[in-house]
Every structure is written in C-alpha cells, then in structure tokens.
Symmetry: C2
Subunit: 190 residues, 2 copies
C-alpha cells in the first residue's frame, strides 16, 4: 500500500534492526484518514471470504480494525489484554508473549462474542514472530470459529511470523512488508 | 442520541446502580456503524470549536474517537495506560483512579503529540466521577494546549463528573445521559 509505505518512510523510525517506531501515525498519534484507507483496503481484499466478524487486540489494532469492520459492515471484537471486575461469564483465554514489551500477557474474549461457525478476519498493527496472531487463531479455534483471513498493517518480513502463518494456508494481506531495517534506512519487499 | 439510547436499552445491562455493561456494542464487541454515527455526531457538534486534535484514552475510547477524528479530519492521539520500552523521550504523565477496575493508573502522552496552543477535543466512552477527563485536562494543560470540548458516549449523570466539568465551562456533549439505573431498568435524562 503506497500511502502506508510513504508514511513509514516519512514518519517511521527504525530504532534498531528489530524495532520500528510508527507512533506518529499508527499507534500513539493516529492518522484517521490513513486508517480509513487501510480499512477499505483490507475490506476490498477479504470481502470475498464472506467475513462475519473482525477480531483484533487492544489497543493498537483497534483503529485499523474498526475501519475494516465498518467497511465490511460486520461487528468488531477486541480481545482484551487486561480483564476488569465486570468481565465475567464464559471467557476464552490464551497466553501471548509480547516482543515489544518483553512480557507475557493473557488474551481474553467472551465466548458469546466469538460465535461458533463464524468466519473471522484477524487484524493487527504488526506481524513479527506471529505470537499475537497465533494467540488469536488459538482463541478462535477454541470458540469453534475459523480464521479466514489475516490483515497486517506492517509486517517485519525478516522475522518468522509470515512463514509460520503461510504454513497454515490462511490468506494473509500485509500492507507494508519490511525486508530489512536499521538506522540507515528501511527496505520493503516489492 | 436516539440510536445509542436504543442500543443501551436493547443490549445494555445495569449490573447494579453503578455498573452498566455495554460490552456487546461499545467496548468488547463493537458496532462500527454506531461508532461511525457517534463520530459524525461529535464532529457536527464540535466543528465550530475549530478542533485541532482529538484525544482519548486506551482502549475503550479509541473506536468512537477514531471515527470522530476521521469526521473532523484531524489527528487522533491516544493516551497510554501502559508504557513500553520503546516509549521514550519527553513524556507527560498524570495519575488517574479507575472506578471500573478499582485501580490507579498512569496516563502517558508524548509531548510532541500534544503541541502547545492547540484546541483539543477529548472523547471517552464513559463519564462517571470524571477522573479520566480531569486527568486528560491536566495533561493537556501541562502541554500548553487547551481542551475546547469533551464528548462522552455514556454519562452516568447521577455521579459527580458532569457537574465538575460544567464548573470548568468546557462544552460537554454526552450522547446518552443516565439519570438512574439498576436491575429493574435504565432511566435517561431527556
């Protein structure tokens, strides 16, 4: 996606060979026009998969996922990293390791918001080693639904996540695929 | 906002006199069409305030705030409840007590994403005692900007937040104002 790649080149900063700072348009300050275009792009690509529901992880996935769900005309479900005392009932949980924060966290979703038999589109801001995506796939499987598509805003193609997902034969669309990066610059796959 | 009040009456659940569960359309499962209408409603009301930037708190404020920012054509900034090891530089922080989770948390924003002199619209999902809104006002003041409007999806009018905000003479638009609630039902202000 040309507009996204331009935003990464103009505003992104590769702090080192692993960490890309995109907090000026994606996950702290957010460009809503870009999010809208991202949502339209995911919706156009996955519309033929007859998606019933968009699924994402709080909180950086919410903006692109909300516009995707809006474009598809289906509900969005946000998997929670933290539960609250009012989140009770039949919950599905799995453990994910966060690369960025160097921690483990629980992903939680109410079973009633992942109905069995539905076709789910998982949207997230980053794909690196794929731990978050595999956590999502695990929860959706536990719910008796299926992940029929994965939409990633920025893929670090030099990490293992994309290969691991391709091995599952789930269609993946990454809007920007980074071949390599570092303080000297960012290179994209074609 | 009629459509929102209907959603609350149809899908919301007052667990007791203080806690309203709206996780089937607002903060766990999300109705993106409703979020879009909420965004348009806030944008129409606050457009004359010449808003430069929409500000919200992760994670339940993000969906309504993102559509509001989209409708206004201005950036969104998400105040973080948790920082990561890549969130460095000149940070502004304040402490907020969460009623729902029974905890205190830090709100953090990078100073560069709250430029001095700007007019800020703060959007949040709930207004109860107003602690989150006052935290936001504090951060914006510290940044040298001003809060020129506050948009709330659901106001618990029986708690102190609205009165405390009105005393500051900041325009507040709450799309649903709950006079009282409990297991027997939910009553709205006109």
């Amino acid at each position: 996606m040309k507009e996204l790649i331009e935003a990464i080149l103009t505003h992104g900063k590769a702090i080192n060979e692993d960490v890309l700072l995109v907090d000026s348009f994606l996950n702290h300050q957010v460009d809503p026009l870009l999010m809208h275009h991202i949502g339209e792009t995911f919706a156009a690509f996955f519309r033929k998969k007859e998606i019933d529901r968009v699924l994402t992880i709080e909180s950086s996935g919410i903006a692109p996922a909300a516009f995707t769900a809006y474009s598809l005309g289906v509900p969005l479900v946000i998997m929670k990293k933290q539960t609250s005392r009012i989140m009770t009932g039949d919950l599905i949980q799995t453990t994910v390791r966060s690369f960025t924060k160097g921690t483990e966290y629980q992903l939680t979703v109410k079973r009633e918001f992942l109905p069995a038999g539905e076709r789910v589109l998982f949207i997230d801001d980053f794909l690196a080693s794929g731990e978050a995506a595999f956590g999502a796939i695990e929860l959706v499987k536990e719910a008796g639904a299926t992940v029929n598509g994965i939409g990633i805003v920025i893929e670090k193609s030099f990490q293992s996540g994309r290969k691991r997902l391709d091995a599952l034969n789930i269609p993946v669309l990454s809007l920007a695929r980074i071949r390599a990066m570092g303080p000297e610059g960012i290179e994209f796959l074609e």
